[in-house]
């Protein structure tokens, strides 16, 4: 346990001193502010373009924005944040293979599974911290400008997207122990996500693929609607499948790492 804590401390120090933590947090704060800002600016932007649009036959009447508009923005922007997160963090293993820094620590007797768990724990923490920071900022602005209560199923929808992010991170970890090169890791992760996404178009498979979590925005609506409740129930299966694949990815990563040639 002590060596795991030491390795975690090193991972934290690394994200602070290499500036990774600051960059990620700035990114999430920026996204958090952007969602309500875009919603707030929409009527103004529309007004600016009203004349041009009127010429082409589109007449803009009174544009109504509320918390729902801002939350829709949140779910539109969070995929970009996840992509940026993967781009910034996916080299956590491959960087160490390439430089050979892991070699010295492993020859000192640090168990390889602790490397996998330590790095996973840091990635999970960074994603969780950043994601909920972004959520909290949007939530705060929305509460100030409008009213969050009008948006039903907000937390289940937000949890779904957070879980989808965790699933993508688990893929990054599995591919990181299987492969040596960061580009390969990113390509394989993207391919796996794309595959899950394409599978979600098949009606029979749709109810099971983790990509169904990406459609969480459809959960949003007026509170207490029976339809929303039904959607929440249909998400149960993808959630179970996602959690299961996360556990499988992590569990598979350890024996692969134990036999990896460094």
């Amino acid at each position: 346990m002590r060596s795991f804590i030491a390795f975690m401390k090193k991972e934290c120090l690394e994200s602070v001193r290499t500036g990774r933590l600051i960059i990620l947090m700035l990114l999430f704060v920026l996204f958090g502010i952007m969602n309500p800002a875009i919603a707030k600016l929409t009527p103004w932007i529309m007004e600016m373009f009203a004349d041009t649009m009127a010429e082409s036959g589109l007449i803009i009447t009174d544009v109504q924005v509320d918390a729902m508009t801002s939350w829709t923005q949140f779910f539109k922007n969070i995929p970009l944040a996840l992509i940026a997160f993967v781009l910034i963090c996916s080299d956590t293993f491959t960087r160490e293979y390439k430089s050979g820094t892991l070699l010295l620590v492993l020859t000192k007797g640090l168990a390889r599974f602790q490397v996998v768990l330590g790095k996973s724990a840091l990635l999970f923490s960074l994603w969780t911290l950043g994601y909920w920071l972004c959520f909290a900022i949007t939530y705060g602005y929305n509460a100030y400008f409008w009213d969050n209560k009008a948006t039903g199923n907000l937390f289940p929808a937000a949890l779904s997207w957070w879980l989808f992010g965790m699933w993508v991170i688990c893929l990054v970890i599995l591919f990181s122990v299987l492969l040596r090169n960061n580009t390969e890791v990113m390509l394989c992760t993207a391919a796996a996500v794309l595959l899950a996404y394409l599978l979600s178009f098949l009606p029979k498979v749709n109810a099971y693929t983790p990509a169904a979590l990406m459609g969480a925005v459809s959960l949003l609506g007026s509170p207490g609607m029976q339809e929303n409740l039904n959607t929440a129930i249909t998400l149960q299966k993808p959630v179970i499948i996602t959690v299961a694949t996360c556990v499988i990815c992590l569990a598979a990563s350890i024996p692969v790492m134990n036999k990896k040639q460094l």
């Binding site: 430089s99 050979g100 070699l103 007797g109 134990n258």
Partner: protein
């Protein structure tokens, strides 16, 4: 007692057979020179000892325990210095050693005392800079400190002096000599002067096998002599001697070098005695590791 025993180790990379049944025994408290040309398989052997590489066949025992590939327990006895050591460059040397100590489960007070002692030994005691700005020599010295941190029974150094300037080389060799008190050192190199300076024993690796091993004195005595230097008092005598035997070569005005068999040598001495040639000196050329190395790795 033997710290390390390797039996019939073989490893092939694609078509290239790097190790072909390598046998090696490293006794305790020795500085063991592991000598071979570039690409002879020195690093491959060392990585196999550390469980970082899977051998095709053979077995490695470290203090009687079998080394397994991947996660291996034998590494707790071993300190390792790779040829180009890389560290977390955002740490200071003390932070790095502390991290290593904590990872290995050492006590807090012990880590601090040991780190300071080792940093003083390698001459980095006063350095609070981050490792990012370190020169190659400094990285090698820190490498020895981190390798010795756990008081390993075996210290493995992969070409620790190959990329250093003469001053840096001397520093590393001095540190290794000082470390001899604490541990056994297996040290790969192709710089034979380093081996002659600090090693007590050595092995020559060639063609994937150990072609010769033993103490430095034993190795040198394998070759009785590399020849003789013969210096006559007068120049014309040297010329006359050279015409007498084809194995003599003139190197200076009245100095000849002899490389040849015993009979030839005595017949030359007989010729000198018969013709009463005044001799300045006759000197045996001491066999060097270099000549031995070139001969056995041919």
């Amino acid at each position: 007692m033997d710290v390390l025993t390797i039996r019939q180790l073989s490893k092939r990379f694609g078509n290239k057979e790097v190790l072909r049944g390598l046998d090696l025994t490293v006794p305790e408290h020795s500085i063991y020179g592991f000598i071979g040309r570039n690409g002879a398989g020195k690093t491959t052997t060392m990585k196999a000892i550390l469980g970082l590489l899977k051998p095709d066949s053979g077995e490695i025992l470290c203090l009687g325990e079998k080394v397994c590939y991947g996660q291996t327990h034998t590494n707790r006895h071993i300190g390792y210095l790779p040829d180009v050591p890389e560290y977390y460059s955002y740490m200071t040397p003390l932070e790095y050693l502390k991290f290593c100590g904590e990872v290995c489960g050492m006590g807090k007070a012990d880590i601090l005392a040991r780190s300071n002692e080792l940093l003083a030994l390698v001459g980095l005691g006063q350095d609070n800079r981050r490792i990012r700005g370190f020169s190659r020599g400094m990285k090698q010295r820190l490498g020895i400190a981190q390798a010795l941190l756990l008081r390993p029974r075996l210290l493995i150094c992969d070409e620790p002096t190959s990329a250093l300037d003469p001053a840096g080389r001397k520093e590393i060799l001095d540190i290794l000599l000082a470390a001899k008190e604490q541990t056994t050192i297996l040290f790969s190199t192709h710089i034979l002067a380093d081996v002659e300076r600090i090693c007590t024993e050595a092995a020559f690796l060639s063609g994937g096998r150990i072609v010769m091993q033993g103490t430095i004195a034993e190795l040198k005595s394998r070759r009785a002599s590399d020849g003789y230097i013969l210096e006559t008092l007068r120049e014309q005598d040297a010329r006359a001697l050279m015409n007498k035997s084809s194995t003599l070569r003139l190197t200076e005005q009245n100095t000849l070098v002899f490389h040849g068999g015993e009979n030839e040598y005595f017949s030359i001495l007989q010729y000198i005695a018969e013709n009463r040639i005044p001799i300045q000196r006759i000197e045996r050329i001491e066999p060097t590791l270099e000549s031995l190395f070139l001969e056995v790795t041919k």
